[in-house]
């Protein structure tokens, strides 16, 4: 019994999934990619929380956003101070209740947290892939996730859930594998990027590509990495994750030293914050992965293969949808979520939509905002009830 655990140990909290361990799966069946190339073999790293029920009907897939990974909830060690990136929403009794759901969270292909990506060794050359790693798309990720589901024995997800780029994966799932999910939860996403979105991504990419330490993407061989480029990329990105109001509330025009120095060192708190965010990010993220993930975002446009008709694309899904947005999100503003909603309504799909009033900007989807968790929780409560009442259990129906 855990008697010697200190009361305040975060990993032992009642609503935490506790200590978690990543698992790795090796895939040896070639994966055909949208770019025309093929990955002959690859690894996916993932975590799971909760228990898969006997008919594998309570599984939920979490898709991560641009800088995300498989570690969505809980703690990797007892000394770990910060939980996974979506711990606010995943855990016993939380929105995605691990007492009821079996939660699967993976690191996408091309990532830099354990799944095969640009920093992995290319079996053909014996050297890191670097810039030779094939370009990934949201569609490719969904295909690789479907294979992961096959191995885990999950023929149908109770829900596929994601925020931002994760929401795009949930949407793609609903179009490409309509019979393999009962619900898609699409949060703070868009049906495709706007020119402005692509422009911000391009600034981020250029800052990496023009860093002298980038070495055409083969910086691994030079024992260095484009630190400045990554810092800059993250700083630009981070501005788009916060709202004007959020920045005003958080930093205002506060000065670090209380007075002007009339120089270019850090003076305003917001500068300090951005530099710190960039610094931390540059140490933990691979530049080639950042390039690849931003391109995957730019390419995302499920309507494209349906004569640019979102309505036609959204005639494919059979699942039910929850779409959510945040009022102060200007990266993927509520209007962008409403495009998805309108497309679904025109196509006659089941969809519910909520617009959360918050000043927190795009990052709000990661946070514990009462209004957000209440609505999200109410929806997931219904999903769990359906699972427990066997509402969407196709297999069970067929066997009966």
């Amino acid at each position: 019994m855990p008697q010697q655990i200190p009361d305040d140990a975060p990993w032992s909290a009642e609503d935490s999934v506790g200590l978690v361990e990543p698992k790795t799966l090796q895939f040896d069946t070639a994966l055909e990619l949208e770019c025309g190339r093929t990955l002959t073999s690859y690894e996916l790293v993932y975590e799971t929380y909760g228990t898969l029920n006997s008919n594998a009907s309570n599984a939920v897939l979490i898709c991560h956003a641009l800088s995300g990974h498989h570690h969505a909830a809980g703690y990797t060690s007892k000394s770990d101070k910060r939980p996974g990136w979506w711990d606010a929403c995943i855990g016993p009794g939380k929105v995605i209740d691990t007492n009821r759901f079996f939660v699967v969270s993976l690191n996408n292909l091309g990532g830099c947290h354990g799944s095969t990506g640009p920093a992995s060794i290319n079996p053909e050359s014996g050297q890191p892939w670097g810039p030779d790693f094939p370009m990934m798309t949201v569609k490719d990720w969904v295909n690789s996730q479907a294979r992961l589901a096959d191995v885990l024995g999950i023929s149908r997800w109770a829900a596929v859930i994601g925020g931002s780029m994760g929401g795009m994966q949930a949407l793609q799932w609903s179009i490409d594998y309509p019979d393999r999910l009962s619900h898609a939860v699409v949060i703070a996403a868009a049906p495709k990027l706007s020119a402005q979105n692509i422009a911000f991504n391009e600034v981020a990419r250029q800052s990496i590509l023009t860093d002298p330490n980038f070495h055409g993407g083969r910086y691994y061989l030079h024992d260095t990495y484009p630190r400045q480029g990554l810092i800059l990329a993250r700083m630009v990105g981070h501005i788009t994750y916060l709202s004007d109001d959020a920045m005003r509330m958080k930093f205002g025009r506060d000065l670090r030293a209380g007075r002007f120095h009339f120089g270019f060192d850090v003076e305003f708190q917001v500068e300090s914050y951005l530099r710190h965010q960039g610094e931390v990010f540059s140490r933990n993220f691979d530049a080639n992965t950042y390039l690849l993930m931003t391109k995957a975002l730019d390419y995302f446009d499920p309507a494209r293969e349906f004569d640019n008709s979102l309505e036609t694309a959204l005639a494919k899904p059979e699942c039910k949808f929850l779409v959510m947005s945040f009022t102060s999100d200007w990266r993927f503003a509520p209007e962008r979520s409403r495009e998805i909603v309108n497309g679904l309504v025109h196509a006659g799909r089941d969809v519910s939509y909520a617009e959360i009033d918050t000043p927190k900007g795009h990052d709000a989807f990661l946070l514990d905002i009462p209004e957000y968790t209440k609505l999200f929780g109410a929806y997931m409560h219904r999903v769990a009830n359906e699972v427990e009442n066997g509402v969407n259990n196709v297999e069970a129906g067929n066997h009966a």
Binding site: L322, V345, H346, Y353, H381, R382
Partner: protein
């Protein structure tokens, strides 16, 4: 379920498509979904109501009626329903037109400001009426466009809106003889099915 909702659900045939403006906690939609296999959506802005709809498994979209229904195609729905909200929108005439654009028929309920008790309250007390169907004070009421049965029917005539069915009921949701004979005087809640 409220009697007026029961009345409305009797008017709607099985398998119809429906848009419910200001759908509240989704009671009507849930009822029609289970008993008549209708497909539809509710529009709502209250967060508690949204949560209730989510739990019930009713499609609900957070959308303000005062911003119109521009996101819905012409004749997308068989029925567009609005219960007890006509008097609370900025432009009842415009929302009515919108309802009849996106729906083949519209079903509307509103509190009748011509009811004798309302008239007596204003006439005798000289104060804005407060009652069980109109429970607000003049300064905090969401009911900014109250109308009478006659007002509504006059508007329909002028706008070439055809009234297909009318039910006028009292506060106990019963339709008495008096209300049937003199709806504008004895009806407390008016329920209409209209089309163009």
């Amino acid at each position: 379920m409220r009697d007026d909702l029961q009345l409305i659900s009797d008017w709607i045939p099985a398998d119809a498509s429906l848009l419910d403006l200001g759908c509240g906690d989704g009671t009507l939609l849930a009822h029609l979904q289970h008993h008549k296999q209708i497909r539809g959506y509710g529009l709502e802005i209250n967060q508690d109501n949204l949560a209730a709809c989510f739990e019930k498994g009713v499609n609900v979209l957070e959308q303000d009626l005062d911003e119109g229904l521009g996101n819905f195609q012409n004749h997308r729905f068989d029925y567009v329903v609005m219960t007890q909200a006509l008097q609370a929108v900025l432009r009842p005439d415009q929302i009515l037109n919108e309802m009849l654009r996106v729906g083949r028929e519209a079903i509307i309920t509103f509190p009748n400001f011509g009811h004798w008790r309302v008239r007596a309250y204003l006439g005798l007390k000289g104060r804005m009426p407060v009652s069980s169907t109109l429970p607000y004070e003049w300064y905090n009421t969401p009911n900014i466009h109250l109308c009478t049965v006659q007002d509504f029917e006059t508007h329909c005539r002028k706008s070439n809106i055809r009234i297909l069915e009318r039910q006028v009921i009292n506060r106990r949701h019963r339709s008495g003889l008096l209300a049937r004979l003199w709806p504008n005087l004895f009806g407390e809640i008016a329920i209409y099915r209209v089309t163009v």
